[in-house]
Each structure stands twice: as C-alpha cells, then as structure tokens.
C-alpha cells in the first residue's frame, strides 16, 4: 500500500520507531500513539510526528518548517488531486519545474519531509511520463532522479529511468 511505504520511508529516514503505526480498516487512514498517550491520525500528521520523534534532528528554522508544511499541503491539495477531472498534471509539473529551477531540494540544502512526501506523491505521475516529457520538466526530473537514488527514501518503489537525449532539446 502506497501510504504505508511512504510512512516507512519517513520513519527510516528520520530513524523513528515505526512499530506503533496502525491503519484503520475503514479507509486505511494511519494513526499512531504518541509518547504522552495521545493518538494522532492522518497521513501528513503521522508523517510529521515520525519526523519529529526520530533521532535525526531536522535542524530546521521556523521559516523552513513553515515552508515544509506548505509543500505537504501542496502535495495533498494539488499533487494528489491532479489527473483526469481535477487539476491538469502538466500544470502541477510546470509549477514544480519552475520552483526547482534554482534548487536542489525543496527546502534548505538537504532532503526534508517535503522531498519525501512529494517524491512519493509524484512517483505515480512521473512513472507515466514519456522520456520526452521528462526532458521537458528537466528540473523535476533532476530532483526526482536524485531523490530516488536514496534507497531509504525509495523503499519498494520502482527506480524510474531518466535519460537525456539530444533529440528532444
């Protein structure tokens, strides 16, 4: 299941214990019990909890944290909803491509939760692109190719091929 793979990736990347995460039978919503006994529910919330509970400190400033949060929201409201009768895929890719023009990672200079979430969210979309389209969104492709090389982040997802051809440029 896609949601689980993603949470495992988050947990492993931040070296947080994954054990407590359960999925509701009704709609597969994940939830986890925090240290002080409260339950947190929802994909993004659980992921955020895992990223903070881990041994790896994210070391983000408040501004960076806010930026990460905005990208998590972008993933839920834009990436997850693009396709047939929602937002056009090309629009999302174009936006991301423009944003990544001068960046290696989404926020700061190392991978954050935003990169993990967008990588998992975009995998399905990018796997359907032709080489020519990947070339068109070259910044997204570069970022994606870089992220997917980390096996902790990729987990069981397929390694997607990227190849530049002078044919398309």
């Amino acid at each position: 299941m896609a949601g689980e793979v993603e949470l495992v990736a988050v947990a492993e990347y931040f070296q947080a214990p994954y054990g407590g995460v359960t999925f509701s039978k009704k709609d597969q919503t994940p939830s986890v019990k925090t240290k002080n006994g409260k339950m947190v529910t929802g994909q993004t919330t659980v992921a955020k909890h895992l990223s903070q509970a881990g041994k790896v400190s994210s070391g983000l400033t408040l501004e960076d944290q806010a930026a990460v949060e905005q990208w998590l929201e972008y993933r839920c409201t834009q990436v997850d909803r693009c396709g047939h009768n929602g937002i056009p895929v090309s629009q999302v890719l174009q936006e991301l491509n423009l944003y990544l023009t001068d960046k290696v990672y989404f926020v700061t200079h190392h991978p954050t939760l935003a990169d993990i979430f967008l990588y998992h969210g975009l995998h399905k979309i990018i796997s359907k692109l032709t080489f020519q389209e990947k070339e068109k969104y070259v910044h997204v492709s570069r970022w994606f190719d870089n992220i997917q090389q980390d096996t902790t982040l990729r987990q069981s997802l397929q390694l997607l091929p990227f190849s530049r051809s002078s044919l398309y440029s």
Binding site: T101, D102, R142, N146, Q149, F162
Partner: protein
Amino acid sequence: MGFGDLKADSGLKALNDFLADRSYIEGYTASQADNVVFNALSGAPPAKFPHALRWYNHIKSLDRNALPGVKKDIGAYGVSSAGASGDAAANDDEDFDLFGSDDEDEQEAEAKKQAALKAYHEKKAKKPALIAKSNIIMEVKPWDDETDMKELEKSVRSVAADGLVWGASKLVPVGYGINKLQISCVVEDDKVGTDFLEEEITKFEDFVQSVDILAFNKV
C-alpha cells in the same frame, strides 16, 4: 575531458549543460568532486547559466571541506571523463606499480595516438564536405479541365528555397481533357525535404488538388 576553462564562458557553458539533469558533479550526493570544481570557478556563474548557478549556490551552502570522497584532478570530471583521464587518475593512485616501464610505453603510445588523431581531424576539416543531392520528379494534379495549367506551373516554379533547382516539366493527359503536370527538381538533401515541397505546392489550392512524388533518386 573536463569542462575546459571554467573561468571563461565556454567552460561555464559545458558545466551548465552537464548540470542540467544532475544535482552533483559525481553520483547523487555532494563530494570532493563538487569541491574541486567549485574551487576552479572564479565566483558565482552569471544568471545565464541557471544550472551552474543553482549547483554553485547549493555547494556554497555546504561545508565543503567535510564532504566525502577523494580529490581528483579537475580534468577527471565532466562529460567524457570515464575514458582515458579516469584511467590515468587510477594509475596515479596506485602506490606499487608492477609494470612501471609499461606505463611509459603506454604513455608514448597514447601520445602517438593523440597525434594521429589530431592529424586526422585536421585533414578531415580541410576536406570539403560532400553535398548529398537528390533528383525528385513530382506529379501535380489540378482540380479539373478548367484549371490553367500554365498558371499552375508558374506557381509551382515560384516555390524557391536554398538548395532547390527546378528542372524540366511536361503535361501528361489523364483523360476527359484533364492534364497533370510532371516536374523534376534537384534538391540538396540537407536543405530541402519532400515534405517541404509538398506543403509549399499544395498551398496554391486554387490550382493544385494533390501532389505525389513520382520518383526520388540520389544524384
């Protein structure tokens, strides 16, 4: 090998092209390779090299001396670094060289090869390029017997392009008083294609119903 002069535009352009679909100089993490190339730059690349500038800013933010990996000669990085220079670097790394003398021979052979290659390229550059030409015979069909065939031929011959020369033409009767125009032309393959010709001729839609390629011969 390498990027050339990284303080000049030509080197920066090579670096920019190289980084278009890569985040780092080597592999998928920052390494000493990035540090070496970073230090070879005279400063931040200008905005017309967006990929190089993005990479520069990213590397600048990292602790460059703490990056993993071993420093290599700058020539070892870049597009075609997998070949000779990579081997040379590998040779340098070895403390103990069993075939010391062979190495010199190799270098000599390599130098000879390079000289021969250079001579070949010079010769090649002097030789004029052969221009590939084709002789095309086309059939242009009018709408009906009332189409002015003289006007049609004039229109067809008015199509002009670099590397295109019109040749002889004749009218061939089809039946019911209708004639079709057969016209030959010689084109330079690199400059003019059949698609272009067909498109241009069918633009005279007052006269032309259709265009067919009757024969296509290399000259």
